[in-house]
Amino acid sequence: MSRAAIFRKISAATAALKIKAPRPEYDASITHSTPKLAGSNLLEIFSRNLAEVNGRTLLSVAELVEFLTKSGQLRGYCDPLLYERIGAPLAAAGLTVETTYEPARYDDYQFGITRASGAIAESGTLILDDEHTSRRLAALSPWVHVALLDRAAIHRTISDALAALGNSPNIIWVTGPSKTADVEGILIEGVHGPGEQIALVL
């Protein structure tokens, strides 16, 4: 009922228009921010922009061990596909690493290690999708989220990343830690999601 009525009203409204705006043609470069893209190395540009939104780039498992140990985040989840490369060395360093995520124990996981499907240099954004991320919750409920990023999967610009969005029914771009400024405009990180967002590039 509603559907037909709405379409009827829309076509009456648009049929009455004397001039219909054509679809503008433009080059995607109009959306690119030159200062944000300064530099030639995509990983460097990505890391700089990620740092600007208070995220971190780590370049080895040893750096990750050091970060987690120093910040007291000692128990967490690791995507089983990454256990050998990342989980096992963390466990060997004395951290507790689980390869199953039990939703009922959502607060027990202090860190979560999952795969990113890509990243965007221009904005310091990590791209997660349903195929690469083993569990959405494991990338969300822990205080620290570590996304393993393949440096070859870094897109230069936001428009490049959109052109390569793919077919996953659920994709999320993560640009830094979860945050709010709802209370008097004061920035607080770690609202519902991670307070620390890490890109691990090995």
Binding site: M1, S2, R3, A5, I6, F7, K9, I10, A12, A13, T14, A16, K20, A21, P22, R23, P24, Y26, A28, I30, T31, S33, K36, N49, V53, P103, A104, S123, T125, D130, E131, T133, R135, R136, L137, L140, S141, I158, L162, L165, P169, N170, I171, I172, W173, V174, T175, S178, K179, T180, A181, D182, V183, E184, G185, I188, G190, V191, H192, G193
Partner: protein, 466 residues
């Protein structure tokens, strides 16, 4: 016959503390937007104009794009519904919830849901419906209404929030440190997400080509709400469409910068179907409810440009009237310049009730300058003032202009009025028992009349000879 406009009355009685919060928050928002946009782009106006023309094109071909979006979504297993009115939308959502036996859900911030008063309706019908955006959560605790599109509690301060947490049992003691407030909400809401049977969201943009809904949050509340919930319902205004995913580069770059001075909002989610088979988290069922609720009538009006709006709140931040009066003065979920245009149009049969809003503007044009989709808001305000005049909507605060018109069109009368006007300086206007005069003078100081000195001076001047 004389009276005052509701919006003026509200602005006059607003508490100092509330006014200070609104003024500080909105001024900071304007400053941040300006810095980020101009730091990142040499010609930010080019991008704004482009965004406006993409939206215009979409709106002028809305039937085609809406059909395309519907097909894209349906093909991917999404149930698509259409709601002509607010009541249709509420009933459609309730029916879906009942089919899935939902008795508790979380909701991420949605202006469309505010517009149709979804929360109170669902609660009346026995569905526990919890707002998960920190600001909206506090609004719900206080049984308040949001006063800004992206900063719903811009009118509140930490002391009020700490008291609400204590009163409503979110916290066991009073603590007004913003970090503590945020942590307490984090702990409280996580339990609710994990326990919820559904998640309701809005959408910031919908791409017709792929059917992808784009939902942005900084807190991650919509992501968290949807991860454990088996059912996702998105309420989407029919004007949210853009032709293609490629166009998102224009809109995402403008939305974050205009709303909060960020290049991108932290979580930008693209959804066009239930979760993948290999993914344990996320809804198995997804419904999109397209909401008209007056939008197609706006499309038929001479104010259709307002449908370009992407709800960034930049016009609210920059508006001198909004800053003084607060969003609540506009008596609808949409405050500030956008509200002054949208409310009288959207709630069409209640036009006279909102006809004072377009007059609450100095027409300074700042809202047009900051608008990411280049909406000529001052022009639209004038068109709505004209509509009110044509439809003879009573205007309680209007000062009768007929005597002035008579004076101004007759040079002799004008001259004698001028020479008499010096006498006005000796009249005790500030105590005269004329209500509209008192209201007017309450906000302004009248300069002393010079009794036509300017005209005399003009007469002694000659045109410069070359």
């Amino acid at each position: 016959m004389f009276g005052t406009q509701l919006i003026d009355d509200y602005a006059r009685q607003i508490a100092d503390e509330k006014q200070a919060s609104v003024l500080n928050g909105s001024a900071a928002g304007t400053e941040k937007r300006y810095q980020v946009l101009h730091q990142d782009y040499a010609q930010p106006d080019e991008l704004r104009h482009l965004a406006g023309s993409i939206k215009d094109h979409t709106l002028h071909h809305l039937g085609d794009y809406l059909t395309q979006a519907e097909n894209s979504l349906t093909q991917r297993g999404v149930h698509v519904h259409f709601a002509e009115t607010d009541e249709d939308a509420r009933q459609t959502i309730l029916t879906i919830l009942r089919q899935h036996q939902v008795s508790r859900l979380t909701k991420s911030k949605s202006m469309a849901a505010e517009e149709i008063h979804l929360n109170p309706f669902l609660i009346e019908n026995g569905v526990e419906c919890l707002e998960s955006d920190l600001g909206e959560f506090i609004i719900q605790l206080d049984d308040d209404i949001p006063s800004h599109i992206v900063k719903p509690i811009i009118h509140k301060n930490r002391r009020g929030i700490a008291n609400s947490f204590l009163r409503e049992g979110v916290a066991e003691d009073y603590n007004d440190d913003p970090q503590t407030i945020t942590r307490r909400a984090r702990i409280f809401l996580r339990k609710k997400y994990m326990d919820a049977q559904a998640c309701i969201t809005g959408a910031n943009v919908l791409c017709a080509d792929s059917g992808r809904l784009d939902i942005v949050t900084n807190e991650g509340n919509s992501r968290f709400g949807m991860a454990p919930a088996p059912l996702h319902i998105a309420l989407v205004g029919i004007e949210k469409l853009i032709p293609s995913e490629a166009d998102l580069a224009v809109f995402l770059n403008l939305l974050g910068r205009s709303a909060t001075g960020q290049q991108l909002t932290v979580y930008t989610e693209f959804i066009n179907g239930p979760r993948s088979a290999n993914q344990p988290d996320g809804p198995e069922h997804m419904h999109v409810v397209f909401l008209d609720n007056g939008r197609s009538s706006v499309l038929a009006s001479n104010c259709r440009e307002i449908l370009r709006c992407i709800r960034c709140g930049a016009c609210q931040n920059v508006c001198p009237i909004y800053r003084q009066a607060s969003g609540h003065a506009y008596r609808s979920p949409y405050g500030g310049p956008i509200g002054a245009v949208l409310s009288p149009l959207l709630f069409g049969d209640r036009f006279p009730e909102f006809a004072d809003l377009p007059k609450a503007s100095t027409l300074c044009g700042a809202c047009h300058e900051v608008c990411p989709v280049n909406i000529p808001i001052p022009d639209l305000l004038l068109r709505l003032r004209d509509k009110a005049k044509r439809e003879a909507v009573p205007s309680p605060a209007a000062i009768p202009m007929a005597p002035f018109a008579l004076l101004a069109t007759s040079p002799n009368l004008w001259r004698s009025a001028m020479s008499m006007s010096k006498a006005m300086n000796h009249l005790p206007l500030d105590v005269a028992p004329i209500k509209p005069l008192q209201d007017w003078l309450g906000q302004r100081t009248l300069p002393p009349s010079k009794g036509g000195d300017f005209r005399k001076w003009m007469k002694t001047r000659r045109k410069p000879q070359h």
